[in-house]
C-alpha cells in the first residue's frame, strides 16, 4: 500500500525522467527526433542489401521480416544496456535526495519504449509500400509488445542491481547481447538453423519467441502458442526475480556507488 502511494507521489518524476531521456537523446543533432525513424530505416536497407545479396534471395517482403526483428531487438538491447548503467549514472542524485530507486531503471526502459513505439511508424510505412497489408491478426501484435516490455523491465531490474556490485556486468552484458542478436533470427530465416539441427537454440531464446509472434501478427498468421507461453512465462519470472533482487539490495546501493 505504501509502495503504491509512493509511486503516485513520484509519477510526475517518472514522467519528467522519461521526457528528459528522450529530449536529451536527440538534442543538438540537426534531424532530432527524425532519427528515431531514419535510423531503423537505414539499418534495414543495409541489412537487406547485405543479406539478400548473400543468400541470393528475391523475397520482396524480406525488409519487413528484418525490420520486425530488428526493432524489437534494438529496444531490448538499448533499454537493458541503459538500465544496467542507470544506478551508477544517477549516483549523484541517489546520494543526495531520497527518491524510490527503482524509478531510474524503469524510466530508462520506458523512454526507450516510447522511442520504439514511434519507430514502429517505419514498419507501417515499409509494410504498406512492400505490399504486406495488415489483416485482422495485426491486433495480436499488442500481446508480444506487452510481453517484451515486461521482460525488459525485469531484465533491467536484475542487471541494474548486479551492476552496482559488479561493474563488469556492463561489459559482459554487451557480449551477451551480441549472442542474443545472432540467436534471434533477425536477418536470416530460421529454416537454415532448423535444418542443421540447431533449432533448440532459437527455442530457448525468449526474445526470439517474442519476435516470432510479432512477425505472425504483422504477416497475418495466428500466434504460436508455445512461443507465447514461453515468452510470457519468462517475462513474468524475470520481473519477479528483478523486483526481488532490487528490493533486497537497494539499501546497499549507496555504499557501492
Amino acid at each position: 500500500m505504501r509502495q503504491v502511494k509512493n509511486l503516485m507521489k513520484y509519477r510526475f518524476l517518472l514522467l519528467e525522467l522519461v521526457k528528459k531521456d528522450i529530449k536529451l537523446k536527440y538534442r543538438r543533432s540537426y534531424l532530432g527526433i527524425v532519427w528515431t525513424l531514419l535510423e531503423p530505416l537505414l539499418t534495414m536497407i543495409v541489412l537487406t542489401v547485405v543479406f539478400s545479396g548473400l543468400y541470393g534471395k528475391a523475397d520482396h517482403t524480406f525488409p519487413v521480416y528484418i525490420l520486425t526483428g530488428r526493432l524489437l531487438y534494438t529496444f531490448f538491447a538499448n533499454s537493458t544496456k541503459a538500465a544496467t548503467k542507470s544506478i551508477r549514472s544517477n549516483a549523484a542524485m541517489i546520494k543526495k535526495v531520497y527518491v524510490p530507486k527503482y524509478i531510474y531503471p524503469i524510466a530508462t526502459t520506458l523512454s526507450n519504449y516510447v522511442i520504439f513505439l514511434i519507430s514502429l511508424v517505419v514498419l507501417v510505412i515499409v509494410s504498406l509500400v512492400l505490399g504486406v497489408y495488415p489483416t485482422l491478426y495485426i491486433v495480436e501484435a499488442v500481446v508480444p509488445l506487452m510481453i517484451v516490455l515486461v521482460m525488459t523491465v525485469g531484465v533491467g531490474l536484475c542487471l541494474s542491481t548486479m551492476a552496482v556490485f559488479f561493474r563488469d556486468m556492463e561489459y559482459l552484458w554487451g557480449v551477451i547481447l551480441t549472442l542474443v542478436m545472432y540467436c534471434s533470427a533477425i536477418f536470416y530465416e530460421p529454416d537454415r538453423v532448423l535444418r542443421q539441427g540447431y533449432g533448440w537454440i532459437l527455442d530457448l531464446n525468449p526474445l526470439y519467441a517474442v519476435i516470432v509472434n510479432f512477425r505472425n501478427a504483422v504477416f497475418g498468421h495466428p500466434l504460436e502458442l508455445f512461443s507465447l507461453y514461453y515468452s510470457a512465462g519468462f517475462a513474468l519470472a524475470t520481473l519477479l526475480l528483478g523486483v526481488f533482487l532490487f528490493y533486497r539490495k537497494q539499501d546497499k546501493f549507496i555504499l557501492n556507488i
Binding site: Y10, F12, L13, L15, K20, K96, V97, Y98, D168
Partner: protein, 245 residues
Amino acid sequence: MSKTVLKVDQVGMKFNLNSEKVDDLKDYIIKFLKHQLMYKEFWALKDVSFEVQQGERVGILGLNGAGKSTLLKVVAGVLKPTEGSVEIKGSIVPLLELGAGFDKQYTGRENIFLYGAMLGHSKEFIREKYEEIIEFSELGDFIDVPVKNYSSGMKSRLGFSIATVVEPDILILDEVLSVGDAKFRKKSEKKIMSMIEKNVTVLFVSHSLEQVRRVCNKAILLEKGHIIAQGEIEEVAAVYESKLL
C-alpha cells in the same frame, strides 16, 4: 504542548571499509573462495538517540568525521540505518549539497521541473511557484542556458531557490548558508530566518559556531559517531569549545 516531529532511536550506521576494493566478479569469486573477503567495519554512528519537538532548531556540532553529515543523510532517508529507527512526522526538505540533482545538459528552466519532481512536488505546484523560483535565484536570462555553463554559485542559488519554495515541517541544512556571494548569502539567511519564524523545525550543520548560535536554540555534539552532549545551545557550545582547545 509541543509535539515530537522527529524521533531518532538508537541509530547505528555501519560502513564496510574494504582494505582493498573488490568490484569485479573475478576478484570477488577468488577472494570469496579463499575466504579473504574481509571488511573492516566502521561505525559512523552508534547508539544515537534524540527527539526534536516542533519548532526547535537543532544545531549539530562536531569535528570533521564525527558523523554529522551521515546523521543528516539518515534523517533525510538517503541512507538506511544499519540498526535503530527514525520516525518523522510531516514533510521534510533536505538541503544537502545544493544542485546535486541537476542534469548538466538541461537548462535551468527544465531543471526546475526535474529537481522539483525529485523533491516530490506535483507539476501544478511547480508551475505555480515557477516565477517565484526564477526571481529568487536572480538568474535572469541564464535560466535558458544549460546548467553545465553555470558557475557553482549560480547552481547553488538555483538549488536553494527550488528547495526553499515550499514550507516544509522539517528543514535540513548542511553548510548551505555559505552559498553564492555575500549578497545572496544574506538573502538566503533571511529566507531561512523567515521560515524559522513560521515554526519550522530545523536541523543545522555548520562549522561556524557563531552561525549555529544565531540560528539554533538546541544542539547536539557528536564525537566519533556518539552523542557526547545534547541540550540547550549554550551548554553544548561550551562543551564544544572546550574540546577545541
